[in-house]
């Protein structure tokens, strides 16, 4: 994964709660065995509506997605994260992310920014009022800010996850440093546990 330190740019306000991963990328797209080419599938059913926020000219070029409460619920499909990223987003802001979606973000370098419901509402309204509003997300300081209007807050990220973002580290490579610990653990497993011949 590539390192991410600062994400700055404009944002799209997706003012809906419970945006599930079936909406983010419908299941038809899951037949593909590749990891790329999902940008066209992003919110594809909602994008049929010309008024849908992603279709609005004033938000084109934005690289931050602001969602509502319970963003990314439902299916574990990592394709949802790939679609959001491949469309051009580098970060998603929400008051609450579903666990699997959030995990999937951190494996791909898409920054999940969890903020208070109040801050989220303020930011959403500010971006709706001024689509050119510039935001900056700093993964080192763990801050998200809109300097032009004096909005700023912090967001949580596990230290290990933060380090991976900043260094662009390979998760599997990190775990394989513990190979001898894994060997030791396996030697002590109960012999009757299920295994294939």
């Amino acid at each position: 994964m590539k390192a991410v330190r600062i994400v700055s740019g404009t944002a799209v306000p997706l003012d809906r709660t419970d945006v599930d991963t079936d909406q983010i990328i419908p299941s038809d797209w899951l037949k593909r065995v590749e990891r790329t080419g999902f940008e066209k599938g992003l919110f594809s059913e909602w994008r049929d509506d010309r008024e849908f926020v992603l279709n609005q000219e004033q938000y084109s070029g934005a690289n931050i997605l602001i969602g509502g409460l319970n963003f990314g619920t439902g299916s574990s499909r990592e394709h949802a994260v790939w679609a959001i990223q491949q469309y051009g987003f580098d970060a998603v802001i929400s008051p609450r992310f579903a666990d699997i979606f959030r995990n999937n973000c951190t494996k791909n370098g898409l920054v999940p920014v969890t903020v208070s419901a109040e801050f989220n509402a303020q930011l959403m309204a500010a971006v709706q009022a001024d689509p050119t509003l510039e935001l900056t997300i700093d993964v080192e300081r763990l801050t998200v800010e809109a300097p032009a209007i004096g909005l700023e807050t912090t967001f949580p990220l596990d230290p290990a996850v933060q380090e991976r973002f900043l260094e662009g580290l390979d998760d599997i490579g990190l775990t394989l440093r513990h190979e001898s610990d894994i060997d030791e653990f396996e030697a002590a497993r109960k012999p009757w546990m299920p295994a294939q011949a």
Partner: protein, 469 residues
Amino acid sequence: MSEPRTLSQKIWDRHVVTAGLGGDPDLLYIDLHLIHEVTSPQAFDGLRMNGRRVRRPDLTVATEDHNTPTINQNQPIEDETSAKQIETLRVNAEQFGIVNYPMGHENNGIVHVMGPEQGLTQPGMTIVCGDSHTATHGAFGAIAFGIGTSEVEHVLATQTLPQTKPGTMAITVQGELEPGVTPKDVILHVIGVIGTGGGIGKIIEYRGDVFENMSMEGRMTVCNMSIEGGAKAGLIAPDETTFAYMKGRPHVPSGADWDAAVADWRTLVTDEGATFDEEVVIAAADIKPQVSWGTNPAQVMPIDGLIPGPDDFDDPNLANTAARALDYMGFEAGMPIKEVRVDTVFIGSCTNSRIEDLRAAAAVVSGRTVADGVRTLVVPGSGKVRAQAEAEGLDQIFRDAGFDWREPGCSMCLAMNPDKLQPGERCASTSNRNFEGRQGRGGRTHLVSPQVAAATAIAGHFAAPSDLD
């Protein structure tokens, strides 16, 4: 004496390879990795790109379920992209030495039906799968959770996952269920209470009389939908019901090993005095047969009720979401749900496609006929369930009533295969998600129990079995 611990804490502690310090995640050992065709191809590509092997192919089992047709499984798959995805799994399983149960194999089936059926799911284990309904296996007292494709690759390569320890949540349902109230109604009611985000970051332990008295099939239905309440996982302490269900299955220990295993499994209970981060208590008598009316699984109502409107919600978020959902579902607030007609009835999915579910649905339809114009599908969860149902004559009962009896798979639960709703079509479904377009673009899904699905097929509109008399 050590500190009292909850069941999930005990299982977690048993699997820590290296403990994370200062807020870092623990490295957790994974006892069983179930894979399927949809969320694994990119993971195998990742292994190949980095020259990595599968560390424990013997702890990895594959099945084909999400993208398989439910008719003519002995023929080549017509859809080229789907055929390629199935073929990719077969090639990957072969190359990396993983057992795969291909479409048509007697052990093939929906991953969360196949695992317990084969005795692969056992108490105290950690189980993962690139599928959010993996919590199903928690019914046996295991920590089981869904993961993304990057994590699938991680488990393939290392048989571990770095994981932050989740919080704990107890959902206790006390008392006795009213007649006609099923495990599906229990979990839909629970999700209605805690909301779609209520369990985020937590493992739910289902406790109390209702779960203790429930069959394993029922417990699987309950744990299956933990993710619909946002939970990382859901589980139930193993007991005599669990052991009786497991005994004699392939992969389950026998002889002296069985005795040793059972002795160990009996320790897998929440200690007296252990505390949960959050506790929810529900009276069994408050639970009615449920129908979902909206587009998320917390939008549920009793089958005797009236469709709610935005004004019924104090929280503005819930009110807005309700307004959007009513619009999508084509509803006016205040209408009795029983007056709503359906186009399709789907009985299947990892939530409700086991033998007990099919028996319950067959008992309702026996000697009756599906209402005119209603399309009906029964999709057994596995080859084994299908064979068992046919041995019991359930297929004939369904066919005689006018149901379409299919071959196993996920089918219309997620509509990757040709089993789809058309835009605007309304479906009573025993599956787990009523999201917009989940069963086909523009389709309208109502989540119900197998009994209500069966009665609805006969009546042509939402109905409980007692409405048919």
